[in-house]
Structures are given as C-alpha cells and as structure tokens.
Amino acid sequence: MPAELMRESFEIQGGNFDKAGEISGEIKNILRDLGIQAASLRRVVVVAFEAEMNVVMYAARGTLTFVLTDDDVQLEVKDEGPGIPDLELAFQEGYSTASDEMREMGFGFGMGLPNMKKNADELRVETEVGKGTAVFARVRLNSHD
C-alpha cells in the first residue's frame, strides 16, 4: 500500500447552492500547487465536484475526505442523505431524480454518477435508503494522457 502523504477533510453543507463547488475548488488549488499532472488533476476535480453537488442537492450534510498518496488521489464522500434506491438506474446517463427547481439552476442532468465513473479509475458506492450514501473514488497519478 502506498504511503499516505496528505489527508484533509471538508464539511459539505446540504442545500447550500451558493457555496457549492468551493470544496472541489480548494482541492484543485492544492493539487495545482503540488504540481499534480494536469490530466489527473482534471479528473479529480470533476469527480470531487460531482460528489460535492450530489451532497448539496440531496443530503442535509456530508463530508469529503481527500487523501493523496504517491500513486493516487482518493476521495471519500459520505452523506446523511436519502440514499439511492436503485444504484444501477442511478448510473445510467440522463437518469435523474432532481427537482425542476434544481434543473432550473442548471443541476441534475443525470450525469453525476456516470461522469464520476468516467473520470475515476475506481469508483465504489455504498448506499442505504433512509441513511445515506458513501462514495469512494480513486484517480491514479501520472497515468493519464
């Protein structure tokens, strides 16, 4: 197992669209300042943003933990939300349970999980209806064009 170089946790406020995206922005700044290769950086930022948005849209609160190792970036996003009843469906492009209101704000195109899957090298979702969802994503360093 590669050594952990850095670990930071961030609180995500559910329902706060005004602040949405700030955490993934912060993660991007950290990775940029560390000189992480652009292609990997981009993938991490997209995954982090989608995960952050999911918490903002559906949950009361959540945490995003960012871990950097020699080989990869790991993101762990846990929320106290409604959970996902049908994971398979949630991974289909275009499937969304977003309200009209969210869509009007430009969110909820049903691209969240599919987009995360596309950008992460590993993605695991654990969910329990009524309790919450946990997403684990891994993006390898130095192996993307």
């Binding site: 170089l5 850095m6 995206g21 993934s24 922005g25 991007k28 950290i30 940029r32 300042d33 560390l34 000189g35 992480i36 652009a38 292609a39 950086l41 981009r42 930022v45 997209v46 943003f49 989608e50 950097l68 020699d70 430009g106 195109f109 987009n115 360093l141």
Partner: protein, 452 residues
C-alpha cells in the same frame, strides 16, 4: 527553466516600494523587499494590473519606441483594431491609416484579411475538435499565461491556432520581400498594440516558437502624433503612397465580436480577469456545459479597454459600434485575398503550449507536500491581516515564500520587533510624534517623501 521575459520593467531608481503593484497583482507575483518591488517571473502573467497603479510611475511597458525602428529598411504597421476606435466619430480608418504613413510607416497592413482567416480557421477547428469543450481563444496573451500558471488542466483546451497578428507578420514579410526584392529580415512587422501583453507575446510566445512580428508600439505612444497629423491632413485629399494599404477595419478588438459566425448559445464571450477566472473555475469542474467556445479577454471591454489605449473605454466602444453599424460588405478584392491565402497557408500553432511550473525547482511530490504542510503550519503563526509589511501580498504568500526558502518568517511585523525599525529605515517616518511626519503622510502621495 528558461528565463521568462516580461512585458514591463520596474525601474529600481523610481521604485519607492509603495506596494500598490503588489496589492494589485492577481497572481501574487510581486514582492517588495528592502523597499523595492520585484517580480517572481514564473507567476507573472503580464496582465499589466501593476502598470497603472504605481504612484511613482516606476513600472513601464517594454514596448519599443518609434526611433528604434529606423534600423529596418521597410516598416509595416499591423494595427490592432482597437486603434481605430480611439479617434473622433468623423475620423475614418482610412484617415488613421494615412496618418500612420505620414508618421513614418512604409505601409499599413490589411489586417482584416488575417482576422477573417483565423476566424474561419477557428470555425474549422471547432468542427473537428473531439473535446473536451469548450475550446478557449488564445488571442489575449494574458489569458494564455493565466491558464499556464493557474489552470494547467485547461492548457489542452486552448485553441491551437496562430494569433492573427502573427500570421500577418509572416505574410507581410513574404509579400514585401518579394515585391521589393529585400531580405525578410529587413522588413519590420510592427504591431500597434493596445496593451503591453502583446509585446511579451512577441518577445517570448507562450508556446515557445518565434514570433513573426518584430516588436510592438503602444497606441498611447503614437496617439498624439497621429492626432496632430490627422488634424493637419483634414480636408486634404492626398493619394496614399504606393505599396500601402490603409488598414480596413473589423470587428475584433471589441468584446463579443471575435467570432460573429458562431451560434450565440454555444459561444461565450468573457471579459475581465476576475470573470475569466470564475468561468475557468467552472470549466475545470465540468460545470460549463453546452458551450463550445470561450472568447476570453483579460481586459474589461476587450482590447479597446487595454492599458495602452487612450480613449475612455465606453467612448471607444461607442465609436466601435458606430463603425460596425456602418460596415460595408467585404470587397471582391478582400474576398479573393482571403480565398487565396486560405487555400495556401497553414494556421496551426507552431509550438506546444505547456503548463508553467510555478513550484520552482522542486519536482518531487513528497518534497512538495512537505513544503505545503510547512506553509500551512507557518500560516498559523501569522495574523491573517494581509498588511503586506513583510513584502508579500498576503500572509498565505508569506508563509509559502518562507516554505520555499525565499523569505524569512521574521519579516512579519508581528513576529519581529526589529521589523518596524527596519521599515522606518527604508520608508522614513523616524519621528512618529512629529507634525512634520503627519503632514508628510498627508501630502506625500506623489513623491513628496521620496528623498527621505
């Protein structure tokens, strides 16, 4: 690392270390140590925010002055469209072109052709581009440098085409060396620029290739002379000299005009560094969907808002709109020239744009993490007031400077008793209770205490 050249210079003699530039710099590239400002080259994006704010006028653009052009046999002006918006409503582009000839240029390039060519090339590139979207315009050198420094993941989305001014330089050298029988090196392609950033894009193009232009003259430098000549010429109907165009004018230079052929819902014009950065933040997160092309200008108002223009931006904009509304259909000659060059020239960018390494010489990830953690630790000792007295614009940048071994933590006035004494030695104010000091504070805004 290759040494980076920048589009301005700071005169150490004139600099009084007043820190206005340091506070204005959007990328925190300036430090004021021992009372003198200096630039961290790899962080500077040549935006020019520092140029106008210096109270002692110590920062100047490295444009060339007109006399330096005498070494060339044949001087051709490539005028930024912004130039034509700088004069009165009644002053036509043809009159401006004629004044440029009277000023000493041997020809004024028909730059509209180059702009049309790149406009077309962008449309073609967009059709072929597989993604990721949006593609980002590269005509503003500041935007390109901002991406290299702060948005490394967007580097691949910067459109890979030459800027129109550069293909103009290439073509005019070819044409005039053929027509006049002189070597291309004897022909000067001079860009008349609305900002110092275009100078740097000529001296040191971001993608690493050599520019086809030989230099840039700021619009503000020749403005008075041009105006004088135009007033003198008023009413006269002198024929233009042979071998000279007079510069048709066009839409570029104003915001929302670069790419009139793109469908509006897929194309987003953005102006001003602050807004450009906001949009780039969202592009990185994948939040900007449905947009194929971003036209970005670091200056509010686009190039007519450049810091080497003279006219008030909004007045210039009015003039620009007037010219657009009165624009004639392109002539047959113009269309023919566009077709001819379009068929024979390659407009793809000659170099490859890469992110700039702003982390100095440390490349090892572990070392960088250690350094960052150290900066985070150091920051806890600092007051977070961003007073700037340490010589760095923010406490965060001071902590980073210390972690990067380019500053001493004790430069912070909160951490060292000696610091204030040291600063008094540089800035004066040794007599804090004296009336003299107070009056100097009040009246000393422009140079009043410089000898102190």
């Amino acid at each position: 690392m290759i040494e980076l050249t920048h589009g301005f210079k700071i005169s150490t003699d004139k600099c009084r270390g007043r820190m206005q530039c340091m506070r204005a710099c959007p990328t925190h590239a300036i430090r004021v140590k021992e009372g003198k400002a200096r630039v961290i080259p790899e962080l500077c994006i040549d935006c020019g925010s520092c140029l106008g704010v210096c109270p002692t006028e110590a920062i100047s653009a490295t444009t060339i002055n007109f006399a330096e052009l005498d070494k060339f046999k044949f001087k051709v002006a490539v005028a930024s469209p912004a130039l034509f918006s700088q004069f009165g409503m009644g002053d036509t582009p043809v009159q401006v072109g004629r004044a440029l000839l009277d000023l000493g240029f041997d020809a004024v390039w028909e730059y509209a052709v180059d702009i049309e060519l790149i406009d077309r090339a962008i449309m073609e590139a967009l059709k072929k581009w597989p993604g990721p979207f949006p593609l980002i315009s590269n005509s503003c050198p500041v935007v390109v440098r901002l991406i290299q420094v702060a948005y490394p993941s967007l580097v691949e989305q910067v459109i890979r085409l030459e800027a129109p001014r550069d293909i103009a330089g290439r073509e005019l050298k070819k044409r005039y060396s053929r027509e006049l029988g002189v070597r291309p090196e004897e022909i000067a392609a001079i860009y008349l620029t609305p900002c110092q950033a275009k100078t740097i894009s000529i001296l040191q193009p971001a993608e690493g290739a050599k520019s086809h232009l030989d230099g840039a003259v700021g619009i503000s430098e020749i403005y008075n002379d041009l105006l004088f000549i135009m007033r003198r010429n008023a009413g006269k109907d002198a024929p233009p000299k042979p071998l000279s165009g007079v510069g048709e004018w066009f839409l570029w230079g104003a915001p929302e005009g670069e790419f009139p052929n793109l469908p509006r819902e897929h194309y987003l014009p953005v102006q001003g560094l602050t807004d450009v950065m906001k949009v780039f933040d969202d592009v990185e997160k994948g939040k900007i969907r449905n947009i194929e092309f971003l036209e970005c200008h670091a200056c509010v108002g686009g190039c007519i808002g450049g810091n080497l223009t003279v006219e008030n931006l909004y007045v210039a904009r009015t003039k620009n709109l007037r010219m657009i509304s009165g624009m004639a259909e392109p002539s047959a000659d113009f269309r023919q020239e566009v077709e001819r060059r379009s068929a024979s020239e390659d407009f793809s960018l000659r170099g490859l744009l890469k992110p700039r390494n702003a982390g100095g010489d440390v490349t090892d990830l572990r070392e960088r993490v250690t350094r960052r953690k150290r900066a985070d630790e150091l920051l806890k000792a600092l007051p977070l007031l961003n007073c700037g007295l340490c010589g760095a614009p923010t406490c965060r940048s001071h902590a980073e400077d210390v972690a990067f071994s380019r500053a001493d933590l004790k430069d912070c006035v909160f951490l060292s008793r000696d610091r204030i004494g040291f600063l008094r030695g540089i800035y004066g104010g040794n007599n804090p209770d004296g009336l003299d000091h107070q009056s100097r504070q009040r009246h000393g805004e422009r140079g009043g205490r410089d000898d102190g």
